[in-house]
Amino acid sequence: MGCGLRLAFPLLLLSALGAHATTFCVTIAGLGGEPDYEQRFATWAKEIDQTLKAGGADIKSVTLAGPDATRARLRTALEAFAKEAKQQDSLVLMMIGHGSFDNVDYKINLPGPDVSATELATLLDRVPVGRQLVVNMTSASGGSLHALQKPNRTVITATKTGSEKNATVFARYWVEALRDSAADTDKNEVITALEAYKYAELKTKQFYETQKRLSTEHAALDGGDQSGPLLAARFSLLRIGSIQNAAKDPAKQALLAKREELEAQIDQLKFQKAATPLDEYKKRLSALLLDLARTQAELDK
């Protein structure tokens, strides 16, 4: 995350919290092929579902696993969301399982007919939300990147290309990211798509290093336009604290505004860190942080 991004982020988050928006989520766990994978995929999908449902009333989640994870049901879910969703809403599609890529198109293996990346792109295009996030965690998922790329759609894949065909572990750590507060690196009580991606990417890398295995997956993130990971950094996946409560209390608006101002000043100071003498930087940062802590304490009363 660049410095410019840090400056912009708190404002964007607050404006997102201010509007009443819904996040529509579809999680699909495809065919495992053998009992171990079947169970693993279904468990991860279930855990994602539970986490999302505990994350807030603004989330509408559909989870398809086992025999329910069919092409028809996936279409139905996305078509239903397409009817309900509005511009201020968001859509998240998370895919777990085995994928394949024939150098032309990507497919996720489902009971019955598979679904290709091209077909998925068409279905997603019909959902009229302002922002979309696709997390394709299957093997060969890199092969879906090209078909799914679109402005305002962040695409995360477990593999860089369609030729990385071994079963992936990225999904395991993506699930973990949604449950582990350590993924919330800026401690704003919101786990963004970018934070979850960085968490899962690092843990996946560490998995292969620790097991002394050649890494057969290299995760990728496509921001959908020229902004790189900006969209992913703004994409609130999960709220893990009480931040939204304060935003709803009119009596605390002045304090919220002050906090916002202090956060902006801190970001500004951090931006100038390299050009500021270290002692002065620390002194000013300490003062701002103390002020921010006092403000937050008032807000929390």
Binding site: A182, T185, N188, K212, L289, A293, Q296
Partner: protein
């Protein structure tokens, strides 16, 4: 000078000339030899030309000439033998061996070809070397070189009396056998005799025969007497400056003792002279990588670690090294004269370069004087390597080698080091493994008097590992039956260059044969249940593994408890403890699940996953102290685990071990966590508890810099600011 008089058979028409060249070499008449070889290069006979080129050290051209010679005379076994010898000298034992085999297919009674195979086996410390050398002698009783080889092999086996007898036989065959004289001279030197006539004798025959001192250098290094080894390699080079084999050994041994500058210079000289075997090139590559290492010095320690993991591993290694030094100073009743240098290699291949050409050395760590080189735990799969145990093992060598001035048999120093591992903590060290069980069952353990052979020239693939086990148990037995001080008495006896047999007799009051009987009886009694039940246990654990996949937990528990204590030391993947833990967890019987893992851990189980599960159960049961102890074990096994340090830090902090908490949370930071804010906040909390207020404030500032809105850190900031 192994090839003298050998070519006469190969090229009868030119034998006089080739033989003359070799004679000039043998007597050290270098100018004449050179002239002679130059003449040979003009020969129209490819084999003779090859010999000439070889004599002039033009290996590539000699190789090409031999290729032509063999192509022109495919049925000539001797050409193939000579070509093989050239390749053997040119660091290509595989092709050399193939050529010797081809020669034997043509001429099954070719003594030179058999000798060639013996030399290849000897270079690889293969036990077949002796057999092959004897066979060569049977085929040609006048083959002095085979007899010289037998003398050398006997000395490698640490049987000097036999080596003397073999060398004397060689001298009877050829009174001018320079290598036989070198062996006899080396034995005198190894026995600390003030003078030896043999090297003067060599120089009378060949005034520039540095290779004689190189023989001494080799055996001093094999006996871990590196300083003297270096001294003899220097003498060799003084007589024969073009002897790059000696120069390479000098360079490598200087490097081993930490004299990097001179070591590197010597190796570069070899490389530039075209002497580029694996020893030279790999050592230079390793030394090139030193720029990536950081060195941390204290009064008595030097720790060298790769910069990518220095921040994490250095504090653990240094603390453990200091603890071990303090312990050994008391146990061995001595202080080292200089600091101990420990080098930790994350890449096992780098570590392996350190042991090249050394037989029977540990695969995890190695000691050269006061320098210890070892694998980093990051270089191995978690749970497969106990780095602290290895460090204590190697440090024991530093003390024993120093106390004995490097005059100690391999079995004793290894045995004592193995003994020290479990003496430090019962769950350290290696467990009774299937190889050792098999060796006990099949009566394959060696007599104490010849146990060194198991390290140097193993006769079966796992004999080195079994010999480590046996040597360790011998020291356990002596410490238990007599006393630990008895081991120290033996150590001091060895310093006087007394043989194992004599030391056993002097200190333990019995003949080695009697000791062997008593020791084996003790060991068999100790391992009876496991050894006798091993075959049945193997069958049953396979069934248990199957049952664990689908069977009801009650069945797994019943079957598991029946076999667990038959082989309690088995703590590898798929252990009975693991199956029992899972079965009890399926029944939600956490106390029993925890009990299984507690036993697993106490016996020496090393799986990070299982030990962390144990700590979780212990925490849930309110056994916080035990949970911390379980996690602390993992610091000695695989410290590259952020979660481990976070959990242990929290437990220490909760229990008031503020210094421990600071160390653990600092290790979290060193792990470069994604979550900088909470990691720095935790460190700040620990530092505050340890009354390091300024440091705590610094970490708190860093936590909030990463996440200004991090509420726990904000609360601490307000608290520390008095607001």
């Amino acid at each position: 000078m192994r090839f003298i008089l050998t070519f006469a058979l190969a090229v009868p028409l030119l034998s006089q000339t080739v033989e003359d060249c070799h004679k000039h070499d043998h007597f050290g008449r270098r100018a004449e030899a050179k002239q002679c070889y130059e003449k040979l290069t003009a020969s129209t006979n490819n084999a003779a030309r090859a010999e000439g080129l070889w004599g002039l050290r033009q290996f590539k051209d000699a190789n090409a000439a031999f290729r032509l010679a063999v192509a022109a005379a495919p049925k000539n076994a001797n050409y193939r033998v000579r070509w093989g010898r050239l390749l053997l000298e040119g660091f290509n034992p595989k092709d050399a061996s193939d050529l010797f085999q081809e020669a034997l297919e043509i001429d099954p009674k070719n003594a030179q070809a058999t000798l060639g195979l013996a030399l290849v086996a000897s270079d690889g410390f293969d036990s077949k070397a002796v057999e092959l050398a004897n066979k060569a002698l049977e085929l040609d009783p006048k083959l002095t070189e085979a007899q010289e080889l037998l003398a050398s092999l006997a000395l490698e086996d640490n049987t000097p009396e036999k080596a003397i007898a073999e060398a004397e036989k060689a001298l009877k065959m050829s009174p001018e056998s320079l290598d036989a004289m070198a062996i006899l001279g080396t034995i005198d030197l190894l026995r600390d005799k003030k003078s030896t006539p043999w090297f003067d004798g060599i120089l009378k025959i060949n005034p520039v025969y540095g290779e004689g001192y190189a023989v001494a250098g080799k055996f001093f290094v094999l006996n871990r007497r590196y300083v003297e080894g270096i001294e003899y390699y220097r003498k060799a080079l003084a007589l024969s400056p073009d002897d790059n084999a000696s120069r390479a050994q000098l360079g490598v041994n200087l490097m081993r003792l930490g004299f990097e500058k001179e070591g590197r210079d010597q190796l570069v000289n070899c490389f530039e002279a075209g002497y580029r075997n694996a020893l030279v090139t790999n050592s230079l590559t390793l030394m090139d990588s030193y720029k990536n290492f950081l060195t941390f010095k204290t009064e008595n320690t030097i720790v060298k670690v790769h910069k990518k993991e220095a921040e994490l591993i250095q504090p653990f290694v240094e603390a453990e090294l200091k603890r071990a030094i303090a312990t050994y100073e008391k146990k061995y009743k001595m202080k080292l004269t200089g600091p101990v240098q420990v080098e930790v290699y994350p890449d096992h291949e780098d570590f392996a370069v350190r042991t090249m050409g050394m037989p029977g050395l540990g695969a995890l760590g190695v000691t050269f004087g006061n320098v210890v080189a070892m694998d980093s735990p990051s270089g191995r799969k978690p749970g497969t390597f106990h780095w602290a145990s290895t460090l204590w093992h190697e440090l024991s060598h530093v003390y024993v080698l120093s106390a004995t001035n490097h005059r100690v048999p391999r079995w004793f120093t290894e045995g004592l080091a193995v003994h020290e591992e479990t003496a430090t903590a019962p769950d350290w060290g290696d467990r009774l493994d299937p190889e050792a069980i098999r060796a006990i069952k099949e009566k394959k353990l060696l007599p104490i008097a010849t146990l060194d052979r198991g390290f140097i020239r193993p006769t079966y693939p796992t004999q080195v590992v079994v010999s480590y086990f046996q040597a360790g148990r011998i020291c356990d037995y002596i410490a238990k039956t007599w006393s630990y001080d008895k081991l120290l008495d033996m150590m001091h006896d060895f310093a006087q260059n007394i043989s194992t047999a004599e030391v056993v007799e002097k200190e333990l009051g019995m003949k080695p044969e009697e000791f062997d009987k008593k020791f084996i009886a003790w060991l068999e009694a100790q391992t009876k249940t496991t050894v006798e039940g091993f075959d049945d246990w193997k069958k049953k654990i396979r069934l248990l593994a199957e049952s664990a996949k689908t069977g009801p937990p009650e069945v797994v528990i019943k079957a598991g408890l029946l076999i667990r204590d038959v082989y309690p030391d088995y703590v590898e993947t798929g252990s009975v403890y693991e199956f029992l833990y899972e079965a009890y967890m399926k029944k939600d019987d956490k106390p029993n699940a925890m009990a299984q893992l507690e036993k697993y851990s106490s016996v020496g189980g090393r799986s990070s996953v299982l030990i962390k599960k144990l700590a979780t159960l212990q925490e849930e049961a309110g056994k916080k102290k035990e949970a911390a102890a379980s996690l602390e074990r993992l610091n000695y096994i695989y410290p590259f685990d952020e979660e481990l340090h976070r959990r242990l830090g929290s437990l220490w902090l909760e229990q008031g071990n503020t210094k421990g908490a600071v160390a653990e949370f600092a290790a979290v930071i060193a792990s470069k966590p994604l979550d900088q804010a909470s990691s720095r906040f935790n460190l700040a909390r620990a530092l505050k508890s340890d009354n390091r207020i300024d440091d705590a404030k610094e970490q708190l500032l860093l936590a909030l810099e990463a996440a200004p809105g991090y509420k726990p850190a904000q609360h601490l900031l307000l608290e520390m600011s008095g607001k």
